[in-house]
């Protein structure tokens, strides 16, 4: 019971996000990436995770947040998905927090539509709001360019 309410937190554009701790494989610092030409904009590149090739998704771009400033390097949060590991790029990694289920609330209707697809709910923490990220949708990237659809 308690396990489902442990979240690994991270920040993006001063927002606090959380991912259920069990879905996280590991957290590694920024690595040099190989960009993928023609890929959807949210795919930041490929990293070599001990011999396994992992797609890194820029969460800022995925969540339609403004692009990261040049000087700070993002951190890789490697999550497990049914199709293998995927890296989510976040601004800064935070603590693992245990939250009280009573503090949960659905995301407000007024939330931006892209964000609403990805945020399953909000925990009202004492000093901040914790947005729960839906990992399965976050790692799904639609090919948005028409050329790709026709190719």
């Amino acid at each position: 019971m308690s396990a489902t309410h442990q979240f690994c937190t991270f920040s993006l554009n001063d927002l606090l996000f959380g991912i259920e701790v069990q879905t996280i494989q590991e957290v590694i610092r920024y690595q040099e990436m190989t960009p993928v030409p023609l890929a959807p904009a949210t795919v930041h590149g490929l990293i070599n995770l001990r011999g396994q090739i992992v797609v890194a998704i820029d969460l800022r771009s995925r969540l339609a947040l403004p692009a990261r400033g040049g000087e700070t390097l993002p951190t890789n949060v490697i999550v497990r998905t049914p199709d293998g590991a995927v890296s989510l790029l976040v601004d800064e990694i935070g603590d693992v927090v245990e939250v009280d289920p009573d503090l949960f609330e659905c995301p407000p209707e007024t939330l931006d539509s892209t964000a609403r697809e990805l945020v399953t709910g909000v925990y009202k923490l004492k000093d901040k709001l914790l947005l729960v990220l839906d990992v399965a949708s976050a790692v799904t990237v639609a090919s948005s360019s028409l050329q790709e659809v026709l190719a």
Partner: protein, 746 residues
């Protein structure tokens, strides 16, 4: 009983039994068929006898009573055959084959459920017993002896209960097949027999030796780290290099299996099918020793079986039809495998009736896979390729063998999944040749590393023909035809494709030389212009994540010596992107199949009209919503028409106005009170396309007829008998709302 004995030893015994028995039974079938053809006598029979005897013995030890009892009956019959007391005939062979099926069925049941299952084999057993008495006199005593020898666990009182005289000689298949089918595991866990592999002991010793050497080489390198000595390090790394190469080769070799392993079951398949259909077929197999990687063998097993079945069912005719056509009554099916250019070719050649093109067309139209018009325009090759479409089957009647329309498309997909290609040629009345080309292995491939736009890419050597470097004045030799650069390579025009351009990379720009990699895709040559050519290397192929699967330009990725990731170019994908392959569509090239099919995949399209009577289409995946907005809701921001939409200011683009030309006329129409708006969203922003009517949503196989028919149009196609333009959404948005894309770029 076995299912109540979970202890490890028992499990191990059962696993061994399964592996051994499956192998044995394959051999059993094989030898029986040889026997039927009249090949060698005594030794063959001995082999057959031993297989059944071993199964009986082992099963008895572990307490598998039913298998033991079933095998026993077969053994009795075989011992009579071996001793020459009765002679083999088709009936006996059929019965013994049915026995092998029954045993296999029970073994499979053990594999999947742990028990022998409760399939009823009494009819088969009775039949086997009947056959023992048939030749009368000498076997009578054996017949009496048999029940006495038979162990009868759990009251498996088969022998007394089945009166021999009451059992008529039954038709071959119906009794055996149903008993087997329900117990066949349906692709859940990998079957026991597929999870194990036999390796030559010498091979294993060699591997061990190499690993030993590898350890020594490692020690040398490690020592060198402590006390650096450049010459020693050089020697050590050379050794390491050699050992690794050899180790790689040896490990690969353990994974190689002759294709004959897959083919082994075909004689049986052919015999059974031929008997059932009343056809006479000679199966010829050439190149059985051709080796292939295990994973590939597994992947092609089912497709190959399907092709063989198809050839027998649809291709080869009945004996009298053949005679009437002036061909020998016996049809020939030739399987041939051989290595060629780092790939394995497998050919299926039959001398049957060939594929009836008219019927294929008619069928395709009937199944509404395409319209009659389209069908009439197809070339012979394109018609042949129709049989690879899902849901296609020309068989007039659906038999249990083929004709369910799930066949050839699955064959093609499976072969293409492992990087192979399928090609079919048919000559009316003379037969069909189906050729499959597959790579030897999937894991490690030789590749050329190139640099373009500051990134490294790997190009598989399979596609590589040659390298051309133009320096100094030679650079002028590149000519252009309507913006399409070409190079005269030994008198022939080689279309050039600039990798930077097509991958939207920015090149640092080197003026010194132009490097051209001459590649072959789909039987067509083209030159890929890259910034630099680095080196040839063996690379380990790793798959790309699901997010990138849609990128046809990349076949995968690999990790370079420095630990960084490099993308592997899919030459065919690049060629398609650069339209090298599309250009020459009309030429009947032998390998056009692949390109064709990719273009022709079904798409869900939104059809709408903009302006007067002009049908446009947009892939539904790009449409977020369809809205009807009152004309009064339109406001202006600057000179851009906008509406308030879901808390955002959404710009409106009038499609007709953008496309210009005759369609511009929409301004003359009375302004509608309700605007039909197609909403496209990306990166959290939306844009509304104002159209005049929304017509339909269709799931169409898109056959592009003209590419780029004008401004804002990607291509044109015929959809629902109307010429339909595919809207170039990107350029439309760029023209109407340039800020739209800035946001999402990285």
């Amino acid at each position: 009983m076995p299912d109540t004995l979970p202890d490890d030893l028992q499990l191990q015994l059962i696993t061994d039994l399964l592996i051994e028995s499956f192998e044995g039974l394959d051999n059993f079938d094989h030898q029986l068929l040889a026997l039927e053809k009249g090949a060698c006598g005594a030794e063959t029979l001995n082999v057959i006898f031993r297989v059944i005897h071993t199964i009986k013995g082992t099963a008895g030890c572990i307490g598998l009573g039913r298998i033991e009892a079933t095998a026993h009956v077969g053994e009795s019959l075989l011992s009579l055959l071996r001793d020459g007391k009765i002679q083999t005939n088709t009936e006996i062979i059929s019965a013994l084959l049915a026995l092998s099926d029954a045993l296999r069925g029970m073994l499979r049941n053990i594999e999947s459920t742990g028990s022998e299952g409760d399939a009823d084999h009494s009819i088969l057993l009775a039949r086997l017993q009947t056959l023992q008495v048939q030749p009368a006199a000498p076997s009578a005593s054996e017949q009496d002896a048999a029940p006495a020898v038979a162990p009868e666990p759990d009251g498996f009182g088969l022998f007394e209960e089945t009166p021999i005289s009451a059992t008529p000689v039954l038709p071959d298949r119906p009794d055996a097949t149903p008993a087997v089918q329900p117990s066949a595991p349906n692709g859940q866990a990998p079957a026991v027999s597929e999870s194990a592999i036999r390796i030559d002991v010498a091979q294993l010793d060699k591997l061990m030796n190499l690993v030993g050497e590898l350890v020594l080489a490692r020690n040398q390198v490690l020592q060198n780290v402590a006390q650096p000595d450049p010459t020693a390090l050089l020697a050590a790394s050379q050794r390491l290099n050699l050992i690794t190469t050899e180790l790689q080769g040896s490990v690969m070799k353990t994974r190689m299996q002759p294709i004959g392993n897959v083919w082994a079951k075909f004689p049986r398949v052919v015999r059974d099918l031929a008997q059932e259909l009343g056809k006479k077929i000679a199966l010829v197999m050439e190149g059985q020793e051709t080796e292939l990687d295990r994973t590939i063998i597994e992947a092609i097993k089912d497709p190959l079986t399907h092709i063989v079945r198809n050839a027998i069912d649809h291709g080869l005719e009945l004996p009298d039809v053949r005679l009437a056509a002036g061909k020998p009554a016996e049809g020939r099916l030739v399987l041939r495998a051989f290595h060629e250019g780092g790939q394995v070719n497998i050919e299926f050649i039959d001398d049957g009736q060939g594929i009836n093109l008219e019927r294929v067309k008619a069928k395709a139209v009937q199944r509404s896979l395409l319209t009659a018009d389209q069908a009439a325009r197809l070339s012979e090759r394109e018609v042949l390729n129709l049989i690879f479409l899902p849901g296609f089957s020309t068989a007039e009647t659906v038999t249990n063998l083929s004709g369910r329309g799930v066949g050839m498309d699955v064959v093609k997909t499976n072969i293409e999944k492992i990087g192979g290609s399928v090609d079919i040629q048919s000559r009316a009345g003379l037969g069909v040749t189906l050729r499959i080309r597959i790579p030897l292995t999937l894991a490690i491939i030789p590749a050329l590393i190139v640099t373009s736009g500051g990134q490294r890419f790997a190009i598989p050597q399979v596609n590589l023909l040659e390298l051309v470097r133009l320096e100094g004045d030679a650079r002028q030799k590149i000519e252009t035809l309507y913006n399409a650069p070409v190079y005269r390579l030994r008198g022939k025009l080689l279309p050039l494709v600039n990798l930077n351009h097509h991958l939207r990379l920015t090149s640092p720009g080197s003026d010194e030389a132009i490097s051209i990699v001459v590649l072959q895709a789909d039987g067509r040559q083209f030159g890929l212009v890259v910034d630099a050519i680095n080196d040839a290397e063996e690379i380990v192929v790793k798959p790309l994540g699901k997010q990138l699967k849609s990128l046809a330009c990349f076949a995968g990725a690999t990790i370079m010596g420095d630990g960084r990731v490099a993308l592997i170019l899919d030459v065919l994908g690049v060629a398609q992107r650069a339209s090298v392959v599309t250009e020459a569509r009309d030429r009947a090239s032998a390998d056009e199949t692949q390109a064709q099919d990719k273009r022709d995949e079904r798409q869900t399209l939104l059809l709408f009209e903009a302006g007067r009577g002009r049908q446009l289409a947009l892939p539904l995946s790009l449409v977020a919503r369809l809205e009807e907005l009152p004309a009064t809701a339109v406001e202006f921001s600057g000179d851009q028409e906008v509406v308030q939409y879901r808390g955002q200011i959404m710009p409106l683009l009038r499609v007709a106005r953008f496309l210009g030309g005759i369609a511009c006329a929409d301004t003359e129409l009375p302004a509608p009170e309700l605007l039909q708006v197609v909403v496209h969203s990306a990166h959290g922003r939306s844009v509304g396309l104002v159209v005049s009517t929304i017509s339909d949503i269709v799931n169409e196989r898109l056959t592009v007829q003209r590419s780029s028919a004008g401004k804002g149009i990607l291509a044109s196609a015929v959809i629902q008998q109307r010429v339909t333009d595919l809207l170039d959404l990107e350029s439309l948005i760029r023209a109407g709302d340039p800020a739209f894309f800035e946001h999402g770029s990285n």
